[in-house]
């Protein structure tokens, strides 16, 4: 079971959350071209390793939070609010990989 540290509620079980997908994609401005919108909807990195993603604390504070999680080990490195700039451990130059 993932234990997700909600910035508002503290550490809670995965069962309280609903996964909401890759948090690295940003909705383009309304006047962006078709290719940009196509990539926003369909292009995904799908990494085997660290992944920045949205989780909705649906049975808690109902905030959307960002989570840096490893898709191979299910380890969670960090969490934050929607505006936080989270970094993957392998991009920090740290020892985790």
């Amino acid at each position: 079971m993932h234990q997700i540290d909600c910035p508002w509620c503290g550490t809670r079980d995965e069962a309280e959350f609903q996964y909401q997908g890759d948090a690295t994609v940003q909705r383009p401005k309304p006047d962006a071209d078709e290719e940009t919108f196509f990539r926003y909807v369909y292009a995904r990195e799908n990494p085997k390793g660290w992944h920045v993603e949205w989780w909705h604390h649906v049975a808690g504070c109902r905030q959307w939070i960002k989570v840096v999680r490893n898709t191979l080990t299910h380890e969670i490195d960090s969490t934050g609010g929607p505006q936080s700039k989270l970094t993957k451990p392998d991009e920090k130059g740290g020892t985790k990989s």
Binding site: M1, H2, D13, E14, A15, Q18, Y19, G21, D22, F38, V41, Y42, A43, R44, N46, K48, H51, E53, R69, T71, L72, T73, H74
Partner: protein, 416 residues
């Protein structure tokens, strides 16, 4: 060696010590006509049909681990063709017809059992939706049958028909659907391909796809460089990564799906029942174990193991519709990695890179598609153009707005 009752008898006289191995363990040649990356069900079936239907036998199936060690050995062994959209209906029905003749075709006992697949419904709108799908199937020449609660009570008496939240109003049944021994599917195709000259290269990891002049010309592997006229990918959960070796970016995410087997019990259920409203489906193996599963865990994963919340959810679904299984103990469970596409439908297509072909995006429906997938992929590779049955399963369909979204839930892979 041809398998038959006589061969079993004759081998029996020799204490069953004379059986030859089912496929060779060859060293890679420097060049093949076709390389298939991925020795799972789809890769092996593709090699089999390339050799059998198109006479292309200078073929290598390259597998990182051992054949049949991925999703073809990690599913719940069900096959069916109960889809509504024409592209799916005809494709899966081709698969159904191939399943029906498969054991005779590849001379291997795969313990096929057309025990029927029943989808339960619980409300008027769900009944209407199922009736619509059943009618679409019948118009396409596929069998579909509407069952009343009384008929269902005869067939599957242990269901909780008076469930407070999901009272059973009836079911949509495909009698030709059923189960088949999944390992035997992999082995049967492997043996059939090998006997026609296909090299099955196990423990051979692909490191890179060699592209020259806009065309795929070979692969780099842990056993050296192998060149080929054509390169084909059929790697399920790792589709993104293998495609990236060729510079392709695909609308695919990898997700984990769990399945479960109970201890063996006496015969309890002799068909396949799906309780979609409760995210639960079940059948019983010939050994007596209840084989069941539910939905994806719901987050990107390559872990090949699931998590407890979804396990609890699946068990709760089982308890809701079939309370009698409450004291049956769980024997084992596992997770497989699904290459989830953004509309729930697969890819069997050319890629934009010459001589490079893609088979993937099977979501959690890959096993039942194995024969049709291999048959269509072999055609696509051999003729360098798709068969009519798979011409809609392209990568470009997302750009063109031609999604085949059977569930109609939008472009979110984890809810397909």
């Amino acid at each position: 060696m041809h398998y038959s009752a006589l061969s079993v008898f004759l081998q029996g006289l020799k204490g069953h010590k004379g059986w030859p191995r089912m496929w060779r363990d060859p060293q890679p040649k420097s060049h093949y006509d076709v390389i298939i990356i991925g020795g799972g069900g789809h890769g092996l079936a593709t090699a089999y049909y390339l050799a059998k239907e198109h006479g292309i036998t200078n073929v290598a199936v390259v597998e990182k681990g051992w054949i049949g060690g991925g999703n073809v050995g990690r599913n719940t062994t069900i096959f069916r063709s109960n889809y509504m959209f024409p592209a799916n209906t005809h494709f899966y029905e081709k698969g159904m017809k191939l399943w029906e003749g498969l054991e005779r075709d590849f001379n291997f006992n795969a313990m096929i059992s057309q025990r029927g697949v029943i989808n339960l419904f619980h409300s008027d709108p769900q009944r209407d939706a199922f009736a619509r799908r059943g009618n679409a199937m019948r118009l396409a020449g596929v069998d579909a049958e509407f069952l009343s609660p009384a008929q269902l009570k005869d067939m599957v008496p242990i269901l909780d028909f008076e469930n407070a939240r999901f009272p059973i109003q009836g079911g949509l049944m495909q009698r030709r659907g059923g189960t088949i021994r999944h390992d035997a599917v992999a082995w049967g195709y492997a043996r059939g391909a090998d006997s026609r000259g296909v090299d099955i290269l196990q423990n051979c990891e692909v490191k890179d796809i060699i592209i020259e002049g806009g065309a795929a010309v070979g692969i780099e592997t842990s056993k050296g460089t192998i060149r080929a006229n054509k390169v084909a990918m059929a790697v399920a959960g790792h589709t993104t990564h293998v495609a990236k070796m060729a510079g392709l970016e695909l609308p695919v995410e990898s997700h984990v799906l769990q399945a479960f087997v109970s201890e063996g019990i006496k015969p309890l259920i002799d068909t396949v029942v799906t309780f979609g409203a409760g995210h639960f489906y079940i059948s019983q193996s010939d050994k007596g174990g209840l084989v069941f599963g539910g939905d994806l865990d719901g987050y990107n994963s390559y872990a090949q193991r699931g998590n407890l919340p979804m396990m609890e959810h699946v068990m709760a679904g089982g308890m809701a519709i079939m309370p009698a299984i409450g004291r049956v103990r769980l024997l084992r469970h596992w997770g497989g990695i699904m290459d989830m596409s953004f509309d729930g439908s697969p890819f069997i297509c050319k890629t934009g890179i010459e001589k490079l072909y893609l088979n993937g995006g099977w979501c959690y429906g890959g096993f039942k598609a194995t024969p049709a997938s291999g048959w269509c992929f072999a055609h696509t590779i051999a003729k360098d153009e798709p068969h009519k049955l798979n011409e809609k399963f392209t990568i470009e369909r997302f750009r063109e707005g031609r999604m085949i979204d059977e569930k109609g839930v939008g472009p979110n892979p984890w809810i397909q």
